[in-house]
Amino acid sequence: MQLLDIRNLTVEMQTPQGIVRVLDKVNLQLTEGEIHSIVGESGSGKSLLAKAIVGFINPNWQVTADRLWWNGKDLLAMSPQQRRQITGRDMAMIFQDPNAYLDPNSTVEQQIVEAIPQGDVRGTFMRRRVDRKTRVKRLLHRVGIRDHEPIMDSYPFELSQGVAQKVSIAIAIAHRPKLLIADEPTTAMEPSTRLQIHRLLARLAVSQQMSVVLISQDVGSILPETKRLTMLYCGQLMETGPAKDILSEPAHPYTDSMIRMSLQTQQELPHKARLPTLPGAIPTLRHMPIGCRLGPRCPHAQKTCVKAPTATHERQRVYHCHFPLLVTSS
């Protein structure tokens, strides 16, 4: 069974200039224990998708979907309390700027303790205290912090970003969630730290039997263990499917350009060489093109692109394009 099943998720925002559709009919399926990457440039709505899943929404956002199921239960039909309970129990999320998501005036220990489910701690009052402490230590060890003593008594502002992110992960996994959403957890971190965090996530996915949704800006920084990949552009789903297939054979022109750019940036460019980017710039929220939002920038765009393309299903892949690069066998 699908752990998470999203069909046609639409999020609309109220802005002074009127209603803007920031997520447009996005689909996402997730099975247990898999690592799923969502890739898109800034403004593509990938963070928003994650927030919509965990119910992290502002009151002036309008969320609609044909289906937003978690473990077979409809999240949208629930009361906010019920939903918060479920997401609180089953899901967890970590963020790009870990320090902002930690309470500046509580110690690391206090914050991890708070995340440990009450039911886990047993015994008398004194025993419980000791038990909690050992659990905190264990969690810190699990996220790769060996020297736990100074860290436990620290305040968030005293931690480096990497350590803070590890602490965030420790808080996230304290209640053994089924799903961990990592929203660009390693952007703005130095490569070694990034590698550590990535490895940690991959290991946790395996050892904790936990699904991981990893959101990142470019294809190059996704985990090697990624099973499925979803490409978003301006709130629209471009392509989704098994990561290996997509990376080797992109069907969508957008995916193609993203992959090429990622490869190019990893090698030295000759002097005055053109970057393999798409022409134009990402449109602002207020000026979304109609139809396929990639339209104005797409090298293959034609007149029909002003109509939104329907989904093309091919094996395990789905893509939305009138003129896919992949020539289907059928």
Partner: protein
């Protein structure tokens, strides 16, 4: 913390030093003979030459200042120009009486203002929030002396619930020893302590109420805004997403962080409190520092003006020091920010 503590203490000590310099220079700003202004002894009085000698009146200004400091710290604050009583002894009583009033009002303001502020923030932009905030705006804008008169007309004259002047009915024979009426009732040898206590409570209700209103409304608004701002912060959202109950999010995360922001505004709170206490004490004939200061200005009793100002300023500095120390102790990020280089 040690560094923070040392920093704050040294600033405090330097501020107090500057304050003594200021109050010393007041002797020269005030009209008349500086030695008289300091000591309250007039030049035609027989003890004047002795005082002149003791205060270094014929020597240079630095020596005079040292003499002044010496007198200040030994509690020899001169005598009143209008009735010759020692200023220090009087001052202590007035000081304690004021503090009693101010601290009680502060307690009322905090116990009502903070919860109401959190309440309003948790109902942000709903009807009850708007009602509370409008009330706070009104309460904050009423001139305290007008409010006092209206309250007197309502509670004392119309309803006849509370008396309007002094600390206690003088017929109870409770003489001020400390200045704090509750302690004085306890120390007195009256046979009717219970009745006297009741009477003292009756006397203090109205001034405390009036004094508390403006700071309460200020706190309410500060707390509402701070809490509301905190509730927008990512870590609060993260805590919510983690499935913590709204109550726990509020109590454990939003309120402490909002308090940190509110505590930074305490200077404003104290200055409002002290300003209003001067007016309220004058209206209610409360034998506190404010009343003392105003009366001494009318009577041009310079040694008293000087002492009252000194005590007022010292109280503010001291209160601020306490709050800063608590702030630094409770919220380590404050200490961090203080020394973070920008």
């Amino acid at each position: 913390m040690t560094r923070y503590l040392a920093g704050r203490l040294s600033v405090f000590i330097i501020a107090v030093f500057l304050l003594t310099v200021f109050s010393f220079s007041l002797n020269y700003f005030f009209p008349g003979d500086p030695i008289t202004n300091m000591s309250g002894v007039r030049s035609f009085q027989s003890s004047y030459p002795l005082i002149m000698e003791m205060r270094g009146g014929k020597e240079n200004i630095a020596t005079q200042y040292m003499h002044y400091l010496h007198h200040l710290f030994t509690g020899n604050w001169g005598q009143s120009l209008s009735n010759g009583t020692p200023v220090f002894d009087d001052g202590i009583q007035h000081f304690v009486a004021s503090m009693e009033l101010i601290i009680l009002a502060l307690l009322v303001a905090v116990t009502l203002g903070l919860p109401l502020g959190v309440f309003a923030a948790s109902r942000f932009r709903q009807g009850s929030d708007k009602a509370v905030v409008s009330l706070a705006m009104v309460g904050y804008s009423v001139p305290v002396f007008w409010l006092a008169q209206l309250m007197i007309l309502l509670f004392a004259i119309k309803l006849g619930w509370f008396p309007i002047t002094g600390q206690i009915n003088p017929l109870y024979g409770v003489e001020p020893q400390t200045g704090s009426i509750f302690i004085d009732v306890f120390l007195s040898n009256s046979e009717y302590k219970a009745a006297a206590l009741q009477d003292a409570i009756n006397h203090i209700v109205l001034p405390v109420m009036i004094l508390a209103i403006m700071p309460m409304m200020l706190l309410l608004r500060l707390m509402r805004n701070a809490t509301q701002e905190m509730l927008q912060k990512p870590f609060i959202k993260a805590a919510r997403a983690r499935g913590l109950s709204e109550w726990r999010v509020l109590v454990k995360h939003a309120i402490p962080n909002a308090l940190q922001a509110v505590l930074q505004q305490t200077t404003l709170l104290f200055s409002l409190m002290l300003t209003n206490s001067i007016v309220v004490e004058s209206i209610f004939n409360w034998p506190g520092m404010g009343n003392w200061l105003i009366r001494s200005i009318f009577e041009r009793d310079y040694p008293i003006i000087q002492s009252a100002v000194l005590m007022f300023a010292f109280v503010i500095l001291f209160f601020n020091l306490l709050v800063e120390l608590y702030h630094g102790w409770r919220f380590p990020i404050v200490r961090h920010e203080q020394y973070a280089t920008r």
